[in-house]
């Protein structure tokens, strides 16, 4: 493979303890087997991370990965994947972030960046093609994300250089801390805490290389095909006009909007909340990376009042749901400000809203007293509590110190029966989609390798309750219109294929919303084949997806995770307490264990332990 296309075959390794920077060749056979993104990172992590390390120790690594499709001209190609052992879950950790950082890292000539060790003082890293250096970041400590980004750009005299950085929360090792690219987040699982634990405050990158393309004319044609699909697609148009935020209204009605810390899956308030956002606070749409043809991002503001918030990017579906329905708050202005502050302090909006909902329920039940909460009234829906708790969590002030550890550790410390109010999977707080709207989501939530996230499990939700086939019927997925969303039997088999396919965007670093908009794995395989010159079809992509899911699973197995950890919180399986579906018995998940049995058998995993069988590992060439 002398003529390798789509890759630079180089990774940058930065050892912060010794300040050693090395440019390493990547084994091409590994790239062929795992491609990139979370696939390549899974291989590296399984090989390099010792069992049982503390996620915030120097032994953990933080990896930034690209793929052959990481480029601004590729539809959905503006993403970077961050991979790490999660301090929130102790499992495999990953976070995707949209923006130009990924394409710029690739343009600098690197397929991946590995950060390891720990600096003895705060630093930031600069990558400018072959010129890579470390600078002191002592002057950046305590500053919020926008200010940090600006200072780094000013210092480098480069207003356009891509910067990813942590906020004060990452410096404080808050376990829900994220890594920000301007106002886009690698949000979930605590990547910001890992970065903070290494005393790495930011990374600036730019490059001038062009990825070698095997078949440039074919690639141009394939891009044209994708752009035509997007131009004609109602979903892409809807995303441009309403963003993900517009889905609050429909999701509320379909029972896919967790409300009041999951006491219900609907509320009936989303229309009112969204109307106010759309008509009063939405400034315009925005693409997260240069050239995005969908541009679903939201630029919003609160012009006046006690929640006055400057023009900023944010207010996505998950973020606003976390600060409205999760916490029973109808004040959209408080929600906008809270999400803005999450981005500035550098914490995950989903986990933050979920943690506050947990605290409110503990308060309601007398487990948490007002004086313990620093005098804050934690009554349901109190808008004033939201921005204040975001600040306290980020700075570990008062009750914020305990809440900054996430709901799993918070309930262990609080006791008093608070466990039942901690809604999480493997320690990751649940996002704003509800398996009581469709049972496949229950399996995907329970078995997701990074815990109960808003990215991987949603293929189940979209297929089951919303009837999207993802272009997978030719690969064995039944027509979703023939499947009842309430059924439990049969879902395990379907979920296996859905997961194998829907991890592909994270292996190829493409935005999943392009798959929602009709760019399926067959299109991705054509793009990939044109770039690399490898003849990779959809079936092979599915096999690679399965391999990566199993390797991530093996990482978790080595850490001690088993079937018993593939859990759903009890509340998530119960009939809603109020809302549109309060009398709908079919909402309840009756036989989660039976669904898991079917899923494990289909996966080739031991049904007692959840460990992949030797035969399955041999089949996937993971036997080593």
């Amino acid at each position: 493979m002398d003529n390798l296309y789509g890759y630079f075959k180089k990774q940058l390794r930065v050892s912060l303890g010794s300040k050693e920077i090395s440019k390493e060749d990547i084994d091409v056979s590994i790239l062929r087997k795992y491609l990139g993104g979370v696939g390549y990172a899974a291989r590296v992590f399984y090989d390099e991370i010792p069992k049982g390390i503390h996620p915030l120790s120097p032994e953990n690594k933080l990896m930034f990965t690209t793929s052959p499709l990481t480029a601004n001209r590729i539809p959905g190609g503006g993403s970077i994947m961050l991979c790490f052992k999660s301090p929130l879950t102790n499992t495999w950790g990953e976070s995707r972030c949209g923006g130009d950082f990924g394409p710029n890292l690739k343009s600098a000539g690197y397929d991946a960046l590995i950060i390891e060790g720990k600096s003895d003082h705060p630093v930031f890293l600069v990558i400018d093609d072959d010129h890579v250096f470390i600078r002191s970041a002592k002057h950046l400590i305590g500053k919020k994300v926008t200010e940090k980004t600006q200072i780094i750009r000013d210092e480098l005299k480069d207003p356009k250089i891509s910067v990813m950085c942590i906020g004060p929360a990452g410096e404080n090792l808050v376990k829900i801390a994220n890594v920000m690219f301007e106002h886009r987040a690698a949000g979930r699982g605590g990547a910001g805490a890992v970065m903070g634990s290494k005393n790495l405050i930011g990374i600036a990158v730019k490059g001038s290389h062009k990825t070698p393309i095997a078949q440039p004319e074919k690639l141009t044609e394939e891009i044209k095909i994708c752009l035509k699909i997007l131009r004609e697609n109602d979903i892409a148009a809807g995303l441009k006009k309403h963003g993900t935020t517009g889905d609050m209204v429909a999701n509320d009605v379909v029972g896919d909007w967790p409300t009041k810390n999951w006491r219900s899956n609907s509320w009936g308030k989303a229309e009112q909340i969204y109307d106010q956002f759309f008509n009063k606070h939405l400034v315009k749409n925005h693409g997260c990376y240069t050239g995005c043809p969908i541009a679903c991002g939201r630029i919003s503001e609160v012009r006046e009042g006690r929640f006055k918030t400057p023009v900023h990017e944010g207010s996505e579906y998950e973020s606003l749901s976390a600060f409205t329905s999760f916490v029973f708050n109808v004040d959209i202005e408080a929600a906008i400000q809270a999400t803005y502050l999450c981005n500035e302090f550098g914490i995950d909006t989903i986990s933050a809203g979920a943690i506050i909902a947990f605290a409110m329920e503990c308060y309601e039940n007398g487990i948490l007293k007002k004086e313990e909460a620093g005098g804050i009234d934690l009554s349901w829906g109190n808008p004033d509590a939201l921005p204040e708790l975001v600040r306290m969590i980020s700075l570990r002030e008062g009750i914020g110190d305990m809440l900054s550890e996430g709901v799993k550790i918070a309930f262990e410390r609080l006791g008093g029966g608070s466990e039942k109010y901690a809604i999480h999977g493997k320690g990751l707080e649940a996002p704003a989609h509800d398996p009581r709207s469709g049972k496949a989501l229950g399996i995907t939530y329970g078995t997701a390798n990074r815990g109960m996230c808003h990215i991987h499990p949603l293929e189940g939700s979209a297929y089951d309750s919303l009837k999207l086939d993802w272009g997978l019927m030719k690969y064995g997925v039944p027509n979703p219109n023939t499947i009842d969303r309430w059924d439990e039997k049969g879902k395990g088999k379907i979920v296996k294929i859905l997961q194998d396919a829907l991890i592909i965007p994270d292996i190829l670093n493409t935005c999943k919303f392009f798959m929602y908009s009709g760019i399926y794995i067959d299109h991705l395989s054509e793009l990939l084949s044109a770039i690399t010159g490898w003849n990779i079809g959809g079936q092979e992509l599915l096999k690679i997806g399965e391999r990566v899911i199993n390797l991530q699973r093996l990482f978790n197995i080595r850490e001690g995770f088993r079937r018993d950890d593939d859990l759903l919180p009890e509340r998530m399986k119960q009939k809603p307490a109020f809302g549109f579906y309060k009398n709908e018995d079919r909402c309840a998940i009756k036989d989660f264990e039976g669904m898991l049995d079917e899923y494990y058998k289909t996966r080739g995993w031991d049904t007692k332990t959840g460990i992949p069988t030797k035969e399955k590992l041999l089949e996937l060439e993971l036997e080593e």
């Binding site: 109602d234 979903i235 148009a237 809807g238 995303l239 006009k241 309403h242 963003g243 993900t244 517009g246 889905d247 209204v249 429909a250 999701n251 009605v253 379909v254 609907s266 509320w267 009936g268 229309e271 979209a462 309750s465 919303l466 009837k467 999207l468 219109n481 969303r485 919303f513 929602y516 109020f578 809302g579 549109f580 579906y581 309060k582 009398n583 709908e584």
Partner: protein
Amino acid sequence: MKIKVKLYTILEKYAKGKVLKNNTIILHKDTTLQELSHYLNIPDNIGIVFLVNDSLQDKEYRLHEEDKVKIFSSVVVEITNFLSKLNYTAS
């Protein structure tokens, strides 16, 4: 009979030329929600959800004078056939 109809997100475009000012629409008596959907030219492959007077209703529901109808579809994904036999009210 006169009813009120509001279409949301990706369905907004189907109101043009059909729904009058103040979201009013005039229909024959006993029109069903499915017939209303066809009248608005909403394609069958776009899954939709109906609220009538803030209660979930299925497509066979027969409309009455002054009913207030809201029609939803997900921005992100199409919704089909998922609200059969539901008739509950949010509290």
